[in-house]
Amino acid sequence: MTSKGNPCLSGRGVTKIFGFGRHKTVAVDHVDFDFHEGEIVSIVGESGSGKTTLAKMLLGLISLTEGEIYFQGKKRDLSSGKKKQEYWRNIQAIFQDPFSSYNIFHKIDAVLLDCIRMRGGGKLPREKKVELMTEACSFVNLKFAELTNKYPFELSGGQMQRLMIARIFLLKPKILVADEPTSMIDACSRATILDYLMKLRNEIGMTLIFITHDIGLAYYVSDTIYIMERGRFVESGSADDVILHPKHPYTRRLISDVPKIYEEWDLSTV
């Protein structure tokens, strides 16, 4: 693991509670974290452990019940639409289901043009925009000439997810939250998507936050892994420490639940 940069996103006592009184659900329960610049972090947990809720809070899509999130050392301020937009220039996301990430009424050009406008390139001449879009598409091995004037549903899942990465390439955010980016696409395209994400990280030096239940993926890509159970981080540390020498029983169980090929997969412990 390389030496850590400055903390770029930190949280102290971050909590989210849904509902009131008897129907109260504590989705995220007083978690603390420090994500550093250029670091690849994975938050691993099973369904219902609160990892997506945490991701939404990081993105500023839902409010915090308690606690604070610090962005680049300063308290995050999302009190006005303008500030939110400013924040979103720095933090972007790729979601699980590529099929529902796009507005089905907008052509692919519109998706990419939006990104250019967001970076302040709205007044550029058309040729310059096309050039930018072509560059972004070729980064993920798509051909813009084939995509232009098409609708998102004409693409395959893997292509849509790659187009998402092309968007991120145009936006060049400081932080990217990838919420299960590969769980809906098959194993062969998965490697491609991960490769592009890593390439993109090296290119623009952003912080990558993976939210996943695939512990194999987390181990493969990340520097740091946080294991989440019922809204709390039960274990965290460098990928090698957490996966090869797990301390918490929950981490051990998660690892033992993954089908292996070089070791016996014990089915009796369900």
């Binding site: 769980s183 490697a191 090929i261």
Partner: protein
């Protein structure tokens, strides 16, 4: 050699598109499953895995059409049976199918017991409510599921429980062969393990006699299947035992699939994940030669013109490539 539960000989089926184009999604596929065995089918999206599963049941409805081949389930040849007859006497009783994402298709306004009742009444409308309930309860106890679930709505169940319920509904009439199409790909690892354990228990206790397991997750397949068949563009490209296919793949495509495995075991971080470049060919007009030629690292000029047969290596092992076993192994060793 055990009793053959399912045999398919040279099955070819096609889809006819809106524009009357033929798409051969299953192209001369033969397979055989013995009693107590699980056959795994691997391959990426769009290579015909699910279409093969549909074709195996002999129940065709447009746009899927039968072309040629034979299907024999436990000695009974169902080729050429009328769709209605297949539905009444074969589906659910001889062979059952769990489609992909079946758990998301449960009617939210009905209880689990109603789904089981539907399956039973479709085959024998004379069953009373009490008979169905007794049967369902016995079935759930047998499969190790809590009987309370019978009176719940789908929304009240977790993803893993929903998937196990779907499997229970599929095996209501104790079919001999079960086809499970990606039964666990939408679940997290813990629920996935429970689903797999349930399937494996069913096999071990002889509740179902043979299983076809379809997935693109090779580590999972390796743990579930006795034999693995790798499909590419509607054809079988490799067949062998699970161990052979995973640890000693012959076809370059199987080798490529192996390169995309992510398991949390030491050594993974230093290993480079290799993706197979490109996409599968369009099956409307497949290339005349090897269908994998465009994406193959070891492609030769003849690959693109000569159609490649499935070479039988012996002991059920087969692969579809013009290179010899030795040449392939040497090429792989050279790359590593």
């Amino acid at each position: 050699m055990g009793r053959v539960m399912l045999e398919v000989r040279d099955l070819t089926t096609k889809y006819v598109t809106r524009y009357k184009e033929d798409v051969y999604a299953v192209d001369h596929v033969s397979l055989k499953i013995e009693e107590g065995k699980t056959l795994g089918i691997a391959g990426e999206s769009g290579c015909g895995k699910s279409t093969l599963a549909l074709s195996l049941m002999g129940y065709y409805f447009p746009p899927l059409h039968y072309i040629s081949g034979e299907i024999i389930i436990d000695g009974q040849n169902i080729t050429g049976m009328k769709p209605d007859e297949v539905r009444r006497s074969i589906l659910g009783r001889e062979i059952a199918y769990i489609p992909q994402a079946a758990m998301n298709a449960l009617n939210p306004t009905r209880k689990v017991i109603d789904f089981i009742g539907d399956v039973i009444r479709a085959h024998d409308p004379t069953w009373t409510k009490q008979m169905i309930y007794d049967h369902a309860r016995a079935l759930f106890e047998r499969l190790g599921l809590p009987p309370e679930v019978l009176h719940k709505y789908p929304v009240e169940l977790s993803g893993g429980m929903k998937q196990r319920t779907v499997i229970a509904v599929a095996v209501t009439l104790t079919p001999k062969v079960l086809i499970a199409d990606e039964p666990s790909s939408a679940l997290d690892v813990t629920s996935q393990k429970m689903v797999i354990k349930m399937l494996r228990d069913m096999m071990e206790s002889g509740f179902i006699k043979a299983m076809i397991f379809i997935t693109h997750e090779l580590p999972l397949l390796y743990n579930v299947a006795d034999d693995i068949m790798v499909m590419y563009a509607g054809q079988i490209v490799e067949r062998g035992t699970a161990k052979q296919t995973v640890f000693d793949p012959l076809h370059p495509y199987s080798k490529g699939l192996m390169g995309s495995i992510l398991v949390p075991e030491s050594g993974l971080r230093s290993a480079k994940l290799t993706a197979i470049p490109g996409a599968p060919p369009n099956l409307k007009n497949p290339p005349p030669g090897c269908r994998f030629a465009d994406r193959c690292k070891y492609v030769k000029a003849e690959c693109r013109v000569m159609s490649v047969p499935l070479y039988e290596v012996g002991q059920g092992r087969a692969y579809r490539c013009i290179l010899s076993e030795e040449e392939l192994r040497r090429a792989y060793a050279h790359d590593e």
